[in-house]
């Protein structure tokens, strides 16, 4: 055994494996079948071995000399029954005994060794297994584990044969078999099992199978005809290549990876608000379509941000590690969630690329696989310096994010900037030609200009809509002119206008004046004047502060003085700024108010005072003074800076010129007018640029904090119990990590994952693609390549493909092509029932793959054959038909995904990949057909078969409307019922119906035709379900009957299945 090469060993294992399989199947045939059929469960198979109870006599065993393989025969027994207490987990090891390593388990009898090679009766484990005393027997009764007699026999034979240990197969590098190719290796194993390939499926089955496998959609009738008519020898390969080149290929491939990446459009916890990270989804589609090699695909997602000068695409790819569920729930303890996110990211990475269930080692050493708790936390340390916060803020975008710039983004922005610059240049040029002299520099000093605008004299302004209850214009007393306004109030009395007249423009340095006469026999306690801009919040008051409007002691209620002396005219004055009015403010009305008495108002207006020397809109110097130390909004950065620095700082002549030119064009009231049109145009372009830029979406990316967080082994997996400190690192059982810096980073990790010496990555990847194509992986537990996982059914084939995949530069399309062009894939999917019973999951590969379509494929196929499908790619998720009250009854009140807002038009008919994915309440189409909720990484979906699925495919408006559209296509395709049925079969199944099938369908059609003829109002209802409209002028009875036929054909088992 020691001299055996791995190659030999593998061959031998294969041989005995299949023998063993057959033995097991014959014993447990009925039970297995029953169990599988009942549960519809394609997952783990537990085979129960029933053996002879008294068969521990070595001579009795005819097969005693058949070599026992540790990996195949013994490890599963020990792993299941012993390793929990005698395995890798140091923290839970009993009796200091380790049975997973030869060094610790095997020894000499005199040392009391657990296993004495060649001598079962001297081995302590054998003695303990045979014990009847419940306190001594192994496994102990409280463990609830029990060895079957066959397992005991197996152990005994293994010890007898020398108790050879082997390293777990998946941790050894794959070796490429000398026999080349999928078919050669499958043929070899079939031959050993006494089986052979099934005949090749017919061409129409094949094209539908390939099209579904590569694009997730059935072929069109034209594509079928093209293939059927192509007599060339490379017809099949050419057909495959057409589908590999289709953009639909990337969409189909992406959906499996998005399960692995746990991609969703919401945060996934508590409020479950929307998150904008669909650019990552689109990146995955595009990565498959442009056939990005799997190693680069890996590095970009795990460490795109750490590449030298990462491209936008490489940054978007890091969204993989932002796809985990996050919380924004108030009350959460931040440390706890930082911890959880790193655990999730480390576990997902290990699961997705290495097929390891590393998450087991969060709380303790892994009980079965050689991953210690410390090693888990070393892996975790790569992800524990995440820059994204513990709380997602329930925000659409939680940093770090990047803008997803479209290809023409830079060109567009450049175009805007250039247009702006050109316009700016014209402005600058023009301003340089404008003559301007600063009044502050003129000799002699220009005079101060005074203007007076009288606003109320004898009457309100022309056109004013006056509201004057209890007020009157009187002849006596009068201050000037012929009238004054008398206002009388026992309490508050007000006279005002608020519209109709030309607004008053407040002048520079404005100071209001107003003459009042208070009745000495009835003097008011308070008088007030009030101005209307957008609001009435401009008030000046005199006397007692009784009128409770606006904030006291502010411009809303400015105390301008005491109550004036009654019995005489008094002129009252206040600055416009006192009541919050600035130069150029427009005033649209005023109000005179008294409180408790009688007053006369006359001759009210405003005096402007314009000093060209100190006025910033006339003097450059004054402007610079005014802006010193301040921010000047709207000015270019350098001008802003120069202004802020004030006049004291020396400026170069060209800088002064810049300031002057800007001033002339933008500020100076005597020169700026001619620039207005150009400036408006400039502002419009700027706005367009900003609008364009803001409309560009962003997406989540992964980044580290500038300073890494310290990582520790977390005792018992508790976020607040740090133990031993750890550095980023990888498990010792796998090849060593090559780190480039002092501290290993994610880029090192990513490169280590795709390093040629890593035994897992390539195997895990090809197995997952195999599972996609064949329905079940060569390693059935595609998520677990550890010792608890199932052994590969075809180890040589798995390894041959794993090595070939690497040799081909991790070329995914090439790998897919290799699989779908194989004879293994091209076999017919039918087999006699005993074969189904013997091998329900088709692990022996003696027939072609046949299994139910996934949720997305089912909906997409329906839309596709109906002609309703909209093929637009990418962008924000859409909301197609969904029954009411899926989101609403469970959503959090404040969640922005509480209410489902159905989309319209094209949104209803996009590929299901683009359906908005709300993780706490996925679309029922997805949930119903086993799509995972994307809360955790999912490597393999179930395929169940339930009545709820039947109800959906029969009754859902999405499917029924599509049936109507399909019926429309059928009617348009031909005139006779038989031809229409043939068209339907060809569109949905790529084949023609048999005569019998056609007759059954036709019978049903006639029944429906008769029914709808008798009840045309029912026909009308039938064809009007859904948003799209039936074709105009169609015979409604006919269309309704054909709709039911389409509904029937879309529900055929053969339609629901990839055959």
């Amino acid at each position: 055994m020691l001299l055996m090469t791995q190659w030999n060993r593998m061959q031998m294992e294969n041989q005995t494996l299949t023998q063993n399989c057959r033995f097991q199947i014959s014993k447990s045939f009925q039970k297995t079948v029953r169990w599988l059929v009942v549960s519809g469960f394609v997952g783990l198979i537990f085979l129960v071995l029933v053996g002879d109870a008294n068969a521990f006599d070595d001579s009795h065993d005819a097969k005693a000399e058949t070599p026992i393989s540790y990996n195949r025969d013994i490890r599963p027994i020990l792993s299941e029954n012993c390793f929990a207490c005698h395995g890798t987990d140091a923290g839970n090891r009993e009796a200091d005994l380790r049975l997973d390593l030869s060094e610790t388990a095997v020894g000499k009898e005199e040392d009391g060794a657990a296993i004495v090679a060649g001598q079962p009766d001297e081995s302590l484990i054998w003695q303990r297994i045979l014990e009847t005393d419940p306190d001594v027997v192994m496994p102990p009764p409280e463990s609830k584990k029990k060895l079957t007699d066959d397992q005991k026999q197996m152990l005994r034979r293994w010890i007898k044969q020398g108790a050879e240990y082997q390293k777990h197969w998946a941790f050894e590098r794959p070796i490429k078999s000398t026999e080349a190719g999928i078919d050669a290796l499958v043929a070899k194993s079939l031959k050993r099992d006494g089986l052979s390939f099934s005949p090749e499926a017919d061409r129409s089955t094949l094209i539908r199978r390939v099209s579904m496998a590569l694009t997730g959609l059935p072929p069109t009738i034209e594509e079928v005809d093209q293939f059927l008519n192509d007599q060339s020898s490379g017809a099949y390969e050419a057909m495959v290549d057409r589908y590999l080149a289709s953009p639909r290929y990337g969409e189909e491939m992406a959906r499996y990876w998005l399960d692995v990446a746990r991609y969703g459009d919401t945060h996934g916890m508590h409020l479950d608000n929307e998150r904008q990270t669909w650019a990552y989804r689109d990146w995955v589609v595009s990565a498959f379509n442009r056939n990005l090699s799997y190693d680069q695909f890996t590095i970009d997602q795990l460490a795109g941000d750490l590449r030298e000068n990462p491209t936008q695409d490489q940054m978007i790819a890091t969204g993989f590690n932002r796809c985990n569920v996050t919380t924004g729930e108030g009350g959460s303890i931040q440390k706890e969630f930082i911890f959880r996110y790193a655990v999730d990211r480390a576990s997902t990475t290990a699961q997705a690329w290495l097929g390891l269930t590393a998450g087991c080692a969060v709380c303790h050493d892994h009980k079965y696989d050689p991953i210690s708790q410390k090693e888990f936390y070393s892996l975790y340390a790569f992800f524990n310096s995440n820059a994204d916060p513990a709380m997602d803020g329930n925000a659409l975008l939680t940093r770090p994010v990047v803008k997803v710039k479209p290809d023409d983004y830079d060109a567009k922005i450049k175009e805007f900037v250039e247009r702006e610059a050109a316009l700016q240049k014209s402005i600058d040029e023009k301003s340089a030609t404008v003559a301007y002299s600063d009044p502050a520099e003129l000799e002699p000093r220009p005079e101060i200009q005074v203007t007076t605008h009288v606003w109320f004299e004898d009457a309100f302004p022309a056109g004013a809509a006056v509201n004057a209850p209890g007020a009157a214009l009187v002849d006596e007393p009068v201050n000037s002119g012929s009238k004054a306004l008398k206002v009388v109030g026992a309490g508050l009395a007000q006279t005002f206008y608020d519209k109709g007249a030309q607004p008053l423009t407040v002048p520079d340095g404005g100071r209001f004046f107003m003459n009042v006469f208070l009745d000495p026999n009835d003097p008011p306690e308070e008088i007030m004047v009030q101005f209307l801009t957008n609001s009435w919040d401009q008030r000046a008051i005199w006397g007692a502060d009784l009128i409770n409007w606006g904030a006291q002691n502010t411009s809303q209620r400015f105390p301008a003085g005491g109550i004036p002396e009654p019995g005489k005219w008094v002129k009252l004055e206040f600055d416009a700024s006192d009541v919050g009015l600035t130069a150029a403010s427009k005033v649209n009305g005023f109000a005179f108010t008294v409180h408790g008495g009688t007053a006369y108002f006359d001759n009210m207006g405003v005096v402007g005072r314009l000093d060209p020397v100190t006025n910033p809109t006339l003097s450059l110097t004054a402007w610079r003074k005014a802006q010193a130390g301040k921010d000047t909004p709207g000015a270019p950065a350098d001008i802003k800076q120069w202004l802020k620095e004030g006049l004291d700082k020396e400026r170069k002549p060209e800088e002064v010129k810049c300031l002057r030119d800007y001033y002339v064009a933008n500020v100076c009231s005597t020169t700026r007018e001619p620039f207005n049109a150009m400036k408006a145009e400039l502002a419009a372009i700027k706005k367009q640029r900003v609008d364009y830029d803001n409309a560009v979406p962003s997406t989540f990316v992964f980044k580290d904090l500038p300073k890494p967080r310290d990582s520790f082994v977390m005792i018992r997996g508790e976020y607040d119990a740090p133990g031993e400190p750890v550095m980023p690192g990888t498990p010792a059982v796998l090849p060593a990590l090559k780190q480039t810096g002092e501290r290993a980073n994610r880029l090192d990790l990513a490169r280590w994952i795709v390093a040629p010496e890593n035994p897992l990555t390539s195997r895990v990847a090809v197995n997952r693609f195999w599972q996609q194509v064949f329905g079940v992986g060569l390693v059935n537990t595609s998520h677990d390549f550890g010792t608890q996982g199932t052994l590969p059914t075809h180890p040589e084939l798995l390894d041959w493909m794993a090595v070939t995949f690497q040799e081909n530069g991790w070329d995914v399309k090439k790998l897919m092509r290799l699989m779908v062009t194989s004879q293994t894939f091209r076999q017919q999917g039918n087999a006699p029932p005993p074969r189904w019973a013997a091998d329900p999951e088709n692990q022996q590969l003696a027939r072609g793959p046949r299994f139910r379509l996934d949720a997305e494929q089912l909906r997409d196929q329906t839309l596709f054959v109906s002609g309703l499908m909209v093929h637009d790619m990418g962008g924000k998720g859409v909301n197609p038909y969904q029954p009411p009250n899926i989101w609403e009854p469970i959503g959090f009140g404040g969640s922005n995904t509480r209410f489902y807002k159905r989309g319209n038009g094209d949104d209803l008919y996009r590929r299901t990949l683009y359906t908005f994915f709300k993780r706490t309440a996925p679309h029922p189409m997805l949930e119903n057909f086993d799509a995972p909720p994307r809360e955790q990484s999912c490597i393999r979906r179930d395929r169940t078969n339930t009545p709820l699925q039947a109800l959906q495919l029969l009754n859902d408006v999405q499917h029924f409307e599509a049936a109507r559209a399909f019926a429309g296509r059928m009617m348009a395709s031909a005139d006779t019922p038989d031809s229409r049925i043939e068209f339907a079969y060809r569109a949905a199944l790529s084949r023609r119906p048999s005569e019998e099938e056609s007759a059954i369908v036709l019978d049903f059609f006639h029944r429906q035709q008769a029914k709808y003829k008798a009840a045309p109002e029912e026909a009308k209802k039938t064809i009007q379900y859904g948003e799209s409209k039936p074709p105009a002028g169609v015979d409604e009875v006919e269309l309704a009957a054909w709709t039911l036929v389409a509904n029937l054909i879309l529900n055929l088992d053969e339609t629901i299945v990839r055959n």
Partner: protein, 493 residues
């Protein structure tokens, strides 16, 4: 059956017989006859072992079950134990006094960890002793108070999670981290159900009082996790279409469906003779089951046959679709028809601010229906084999969150101890388990982990929770998590 090969033909029949005889699904007789010919159909139908649509796992139950079905009344948000079941008369004297620091601990939600003070808020409600057992019950639960001799109250349930999402996930799946199967999915997976016309596991999501602080629910609370999708809870919806896609499209009636299913069955039977794939047979049967559900579900939700006396047990809202009251009555009808597990997810128990108003509304909305359900089950002789569980995802703090007066206070999340009750199959009535300290802040006797509740639920169903595992991701996964958990013997009948 046109296959020319006699051996193949024979094997086909064998498999079909095996299929229908051992594991198959009972189908509508008409369809069966039309598809298989009368002889074969009779053979399949006449099997002495009436076949089940939802069969149990082989070897389950592990031992004779006390309960056949489960009704889980989930009070989402965290009902206050201090104002319902955990009577602390001495707290009145502690009003507004600071909770001693050594009680407080450091695992407090960030909603109150910043509070300057942690003043004690005694319950404003009057507690009285009820039943032969003399159970103390607050005045908020006058109806439940009348059935205390039928229920076991556990006052020392504790959980690890302090926030709703992880805590709900924990209480329903045995794990804080999403991705695990819900309790109902486990039960469906293990035991199947007695009904051939309804799902094995049904969830109801009733409405809740306006103005209550309702938290979100998550489909993972009835989701199958890594179990096959068919074990997912089917949400029974209020109103016209109780099960998704149950109704035929407009213009399509039941006879159209029958005709279509007959044609479909014939065509699929041809597919079976061509491919030999047993999944085709299952699919035929599932379409027939779907057809039956189109009548069995409306029959289920049609309450016209219920007597006035029964309806009165549940309360005034019983005829209001979507009310908790009607949901409770539907729960009885579901288990009566052989559904294995029913879950009612009632929201709004998260009383942070104005607890007396909010909690008062919540209790008003549910109290009578809970008691009515127990009484109704008992009167029909169903309580002895139906297990009923009442409780939330955690309890609430003794200290007030926000403003405190005698009449108005709020309470934050409190995972260290809270109250649940269980009744019916396998449970001893009139029992109380566990004492908490003077502040209802920590258990002092008999702490019960929520996974011990789960272990006990399984125990009542005849399942040893340690042996009820599924290997997934390298671990023997189970409803009760990886830590050792005990069945709560003290409350078993």
């Amino acid at each position: 059956m046109n296959n020319k090969n006699p051996l193949f033909e024979h094997q086909l029949l064998q498999t079909r017989r095996q299929f229908f005889g051992n594991v198959g699904l009972r189908m509508g007789g008409i369809a069966m006859a039309s598809m298989m010919g009368p002889g074969l159909a009779a053979q399949a139908m006449g099997s002495e072992d009436p076949e089940r649509v939802h069969p149990p796992l082989p070897g389950l139950p592990h031992f004779p079950a006390k309960a056949k079905s489960v009704i889980y009344l989930h009070m989402n948000g965290g009902p206050s134990q201090l104002d319902t079941w955990d009577y602390k008369p001495n707290l009145v004297k502690q009003f507004e006094k600071e909770l001693p620091k050594d009680f407080l601990g450091d695992r407090i939600t960030t909603m109150t960890s910043g509070q300057a003070k942690f003043p004690v808020a005694p319950s404003k409600y009057e507690f009285k002793q009820h039943g032969e057992c003399g159970r103390w019950v607050s005045s908020l639960l006058p109806h439940t108070a009348k059935i205390v001799d039928d229920i076991a109250v556990i006052k020392t349930v504790h959980t690890n999670a302090i926030n709703h999402d992880p805590a709900c996930t924990f209480v329903m799946t045995g794990s804080e981290v999403s991705g695990k199967p819900s309790m109902g999915s486990w039960v469906s997976y293990g035991l199947g159900a007695e009904t051939n016309n309804l799902p094995a596991f049904v969830s109801l999501v009733p409405n809740f009082p306006a103005g209550s602080n309702a938290q979100a629910l998550y489909s993972r609370m009835w989701g199958p996790g890594f179990l096959p999708g068919k074990h997912s809870g089917v949400v029974l919806r209020a109103g016209a279409e109780p099960v998704l896609y149950l109704d035929n499209p407009p213009g399509v009636d039941r006879s159209d469906r029958r005709a279509m299913l007959d044609a479909l069955g014939k065509l699929n039977a041809k597919g079976f003779s061509k491919f030999g794939d047993p999944d085709i047979q299952t699919r035929i049967a599932q379409y027939e089951m779907a057809y039956r559900m189109q009548t069995s579900v409306p029959e289920l939700t049609d309450l016209s046959q219920e007597t006035q006396a029964t309806k009165e047990l549940y309360g005034a809202n019983v005829d209001k679709p979507g009310s908790f009251t009607q949901s409770a009555l539907l729960a009885r009808r579901l288990v009566e028809r052989g559904v294995r597990m029913v879950q009612i997810m009632h929201r709004g128990w998260d009383s942070h601010g104005n607890l007396p108003v909010e909690l008062g509304n919540q209790c008003m909305d549910t109290d009578q229906a809970c008691a009515g359900l127990i009484t109704d089950l008992k009167q029909r002789g169903m309580l002895k084999d139906t297990l009923v569980i009442w409780g939330g995802e955690f309890g609430r703090t003794v200290y007030s969150q926000g403003k405190l007066t005698r009449e108005r206070y709020g309470r934050d999340h409190h995972p260290r101890n809270f109250c649940m009750w269980m009744a019916g199959g396998g449970i001893k009535g009139g029992v109380e388990l566990g004492e908490t300290d003077e502040y209802s802040y920590n258990p002092i006797t008999d702490p019960v982990h929520i996974n011990e509740i789960n272990a006990t639920v399984l125990h009542c169903l005849g399942i040893d929770h340690e042996r009820f595992t599924l290997r997934y991701q390298g671990l023997d996964q189970r409803l009760t998590g990886v830590e050792p958990m005990k069945v709560i013997k003290q409350i078993l009948a």
